[in-house]
Symmetry: C2
Subunit: 321 residues, 2 copies
Amino acid sequence: MTALPTYDDVVAAAARLEGHAHRTPVLRSATADARWGAQFFFKCENFQRMGAFKFRGAFNALSRFDAAQRQAGAIAFSSGNHAQAVALSARLLGMPALILMPQDAPAAKLAATRGYGAEVVLYDRFTEDREALTKRLAAERGMTLIPPYDHPDVLTGQGTAVKELIEETGPLDALYVCLGGGGLLSGSALSARALSPDCKVYGIEPEAGNDGQQSLRAGRIVHIETPRTIADGAQTQHLGEHTFAIIRRDVDDIRTVSDAQLVDAMRFFAERMKIVVEPTGGLAFAGACQDAATLPGARVGVIVSGGNVDLARYAALLAGE
Amino acid sequence: MTALPTYDDVVAAAARLEGHAHRTPVLRSATADARWGAQFFFKCENFQRMGAFKFRGAFNALSRFDAAQRQAGAIAFSSGNHAQAVALSARLLGMPALILMPQDAPAAKLAATRGYGAEVVLYDRFTEDREALTKRLAAERGMTLIPPYDHPDVLTGQGTAVKELIEETGPLDALYVCLGGGGLLSGSALSARALSPDCKVYGIEPEAGNDGQQSLRAGRIVHIETPRTIADGAQTQHLGEHTFAIIRRDVDDIRTVSDAQLVDAMRFFAERMKIVVEPTGGLAFAGACQDAATLPGARVGVIVSGGNVDLARYAALLAGE
């Protein structure tokens, strides 16, 4: 592992993203403040380009490619937001992108990724080794692999969201961030430590997949089976080397919430704040609500990580099905 | 009818709303621009206090009360956003509010109106005369009636949304506004004429209730039966005296869209822009999309009027039920 990135790298990433990523709005909710007794500041990355914070990390990573790398392009494996983030970033930077997606990925996600101009290669996730296939294709075409979270440029790109948040709100007492592989959480922790040193930083995982919590307790990266949770963006099996090293140093605690709490959060966002949030995007707020009794009057940052959810599925979740 | 209000009254309303109403965000959508070939600027009043532009007009009207009026408070009849707008404005201004609502109004709307501290009086809309009842209660208690749209202070308050929009975007080529009783459309037209004189201003109605279109063609206020449409905020039977006089003078045309077009707009807002919009809030965008072939490259303002929709109903509409 190379040296860990620092907040200076987040600042450099923010300069690269200037004029390309949206500076997403920070929403307030008088209803949330009254109901839970804290002052919430919602950083709404569901309004980010392609609908999730993932654009920040992918664009930052791709924009650091040298001429030869740009010529050959980027390769990634993902069935989710990272695929679209790499595809869109590559198109904006004028380079090819190849995304490996499972054959049974939702048609809408395939279409969206192709819609951003990426070449999509399908694989059978039951019979094929995704990583081996990716490595072979990367070698054949000379493409640079961009992993979804365990990469310094990816995680420092993700950290720009909290940089923007705290620049807008001033110091916070607590910050809640969703946790899958740890790209967003580790980058957010770098920004929070630099801009609001006394701010408590919490990662929130689905309770069905608490590998991050286990890892923090054990002091080493714990691997788990793919967890069953509606938070599809947090169905990771383990943290990354870079992300764990930063999380272990800079994050105060990792806590979990249930899928039912995620649905409650999604419903609150729709009903009271008028925003569409994907299940993973509800993790941070669900975690903050759970802790609210310990946070009377506190200034609490909440990262709303994304809004990419199939409409039929979203409707079913809102309807309580 | 008193003299018609002017853009100066909108400016005065904006000063009264400063620090009370939200300056709502103007969202863009690269997908919408690419799909329909115009440049859309979405003024998102679904993020306004209580979830709709109606707060602007109600707060402006109530803030002009003299000491005796404040003491006695405000009275309104509404089963929708105007009820909540008057209730919240009264609470913020420290005066009583009484809202007449039909016995069969949705429980959520009753609860929300009471939640803002208003007294709610229920009536039977099949056997009782709402206007007579309101007048009697107003006289008994000395309360001032705030009508939902046909009032200079209400319509100039609503006009502050387009004032903010054009101040942020600069001149527009076309502006699309939903049309029920005409408070938002007439106020918007005042602002557009002053700030972007060459901008075409269009009102969009549900095709089931095109009384505004008929009125514009006939040169007089046409009354219709309560229309059957999912756009519950536009189920008005006729324009107002003040609103029609301004619309007739300052609005270029009134056009209609179907309920199916409204659902398409709501789905686009949810899927691509991650915002929850009520059926009435889809009118303007549905109208703009319908005209898009005639607007290549144009700068088009779209008012997203509100986001107050029962979650179960919203889920059913998204699911295509």
